[in-house]
Symmetry: C2
Amino acid sequence: MSFAQRLEARIRKTQTPALVGLDPRFDQLPIVIQKAVRSRDHSDESTMRASAFEEFCCRIIDVVAPLVPAVKPQAAFFEELGPAGCTALARVMQHARRAGLVVICDAKRGDIGSTAEAYARGYLAGEDPNAAGWAADALTVNPYLGKDTLEPFVKVAVERGAGIYVLVRTSNPGSGIFQDRLSPGDTAETNQKLYRHVADVVEEFAAETTGNQPFGCVGAVVGATYPEELGELRDLMPHAPFLIPGYGSQGGTAADVAAGFTSGINGALINSSRAINFAYHRKPYRDEFPPEQWEDAVLAATKQMIADLKFD
Amino acid sequence: MSFAQRLEARIRKTQTPALVGLDPRFDQLPIVIQKAVRSRDHSDESTMRASAFEEFCCRIIDVVAPLVPAVKPQAAFFEELGPAGCTALARVMQHARRAGLVVICDAKRGDIGSTAEAYARGYLAGEDPNAAGWAADALTVNPYLGKDTLEPFVKVAVERGAGIYVLVRTSNPGSGIFQDRLSPGDTAETNQKLYRHVADVVEEFAAETTGNQPFGCVGAVVGATYPEELGELRDLMPHAPFLIPGYGSQGGTAADVAAGFTSGINGALINSSRAINFAYHRKPYRDEFPPEQWEDAVLAATKQMIADLKFD
C-alpha cells in the first residue's frame, strides 16, 4: 500500500487531520519523568535524558494513538543528545508504528546523489513497521540543493511505499528572505516567487507517483502562519499531501489552515507539538490538571485540537 | 580560540588546504575490513556495518592526520545504518579530534528557532574535543528556511568556538534550478541570483564574527564544479572561510578551485572523498597497491592531492 493510501486510511478512521508533533525538551518534561529517570542508574547525562525522552514520547503516543492519524517526531531534539538520543528516536518511532500511527520523521534532510539516497534508505521504512534503524513512513526534505537531489528520495519512497514532505513555505517569521525571491520578468502580481518554483517541482513528483489515487507520495510543508500562500499553494499542488506546521503555539488558527484541504479532511495534516506535549503547564490545562496528571492534559489538548479542526 | 583560528593554525602547520571527506559505503570497503567485521560476533547487519565504517574511517584518519588540516565525515552514510551508525559517527569524530584534526560534520542541517539551536548544540562541540555526543568543530547548514534560522547556529558557534558552513552554491549538476533564480529587476548581467542573496547573508554573519581575525566562524559551501561562481563568491564573501566540494570525482580541478583562495592557501578547504577513501580500487592506485594495502593507496592519493593543490 502506498504512503498516501496508508495515511488516507488513518485519516478516515480517526476522522481528523490532527498531527501530534513530538518535541521533547528536558527542562519542560513533567517532574515525575525527570525524577524517575534520575533515580535509575544511568551512565551519563545524555543517556539519562534520552531515556526520559523515550518514556515521555512513548506515553504521549499511547494517549494519542486512538485519536489521531499520525505523529511527527522532531529529530533535532533527539540528536542534541548524541547517539543515545538517536537510539531513543528509533525506539519512539517503532513504538508509534506498532501503535498503528503513521510516523513522519521531521529531520529536514537534503544532499546530493548517492548521499541523498543514503538518507532516504536510512529513514524511509515505508510499509515495514519493524524495519531496523529508523522506521518512518515519511521524512521531511529540504529542496535548496535542487530537483536532482530530490529524485533519490522520491525513488526510495516509491520503492518502499513511503513518502516525503518537501519544505515549500516554512512557518518561521523570516522564511520569505529566500523563499519569496522573485524571478526575472515576474512582478509581485504574477507572484512567481521561489517557493512557487519549488511547488511546481513538488507537484510534478506528486502527480507522477499517485498510482491512480488522489495523492502522490511527495508532499509539501506549508506553514499555517501564511494563510494566503496556503490556498495558492493548494491550487498549485493538487496531488501533494500537505503537512502544515505553525498551528497553535506559532499562531496559526483553524481558519488559517482551512485552505490547505481539498475536500473534507483530505489532503492535509495539521501539526501541533508544544501545545500538546506540554499542555500540563500551559493555560487552560495547568489549572485543571496537576503535573502528575500530565497525560490527561495531553489527552484534553488533543481532543480540543480535534474539535477545533472540525470544519463541517 | 575561534574555529577560524584553529583551522588557520592547522592549515599553516600542514601547508595544504586538502580536506579529506569520510564517505564510507559498505560494498566498496576493502574486503579485509568486510571479512574482519563479519568474523566478529555482531548482533545484526547494521551493527556489523557500523563497526566496519568505524574501523575504515579511523584507519583513514590515522593515515591522513599528519598530512591534512581537517576531515569531513558525511553523516548520511552513518545515519543510513540507524542508531548503530550514529554511534560509529560519534566515535569517528572523536578519533579525528584526538588525532589533532579539525572535524567538519557534513550533515546539512537546518530548522527553525529552538529546533535549529538543538542541532547546533548537538553537533558543535567547538573547542572541546572530548565533548559527549558529536564532537564537531563545524557543521554544514542549509539556508532555505531563512536568515533567522541561521542565527541560532551562529550564536552557538560563537559561544563554543565552533563554525558553520552554509550551502551557497552546491556542486551537483542541478543546483541552479533554485540557487540560480534571479530577483526582480535583475538581469543575467547584474547576476543577482538567489545564491548571491544567500552569500550576502553569509558575509554579514562572517564579518560580524571575525574577532579581528581575517575570517569569521561562518563559512560557505561553494562547489568546485562552478569555477566562475567561485571567484565571484570569493569577492562577495571576503570574511567567509570556504568549503569547496566537487574536486576530483565530481570533476573539479586544481585550476577550478584556485579562485576560492584569498592569499596563498588561506581561506578555503578543498574536499575530496571517494577518490581518497577508495583509492585502492581506482586508477592509478589499483595497479600499484593490492587491496590489503588500501591504506597505502589512501596515503598516495592524499599526497597526490596535496601536490596537485600547490599553487605557488
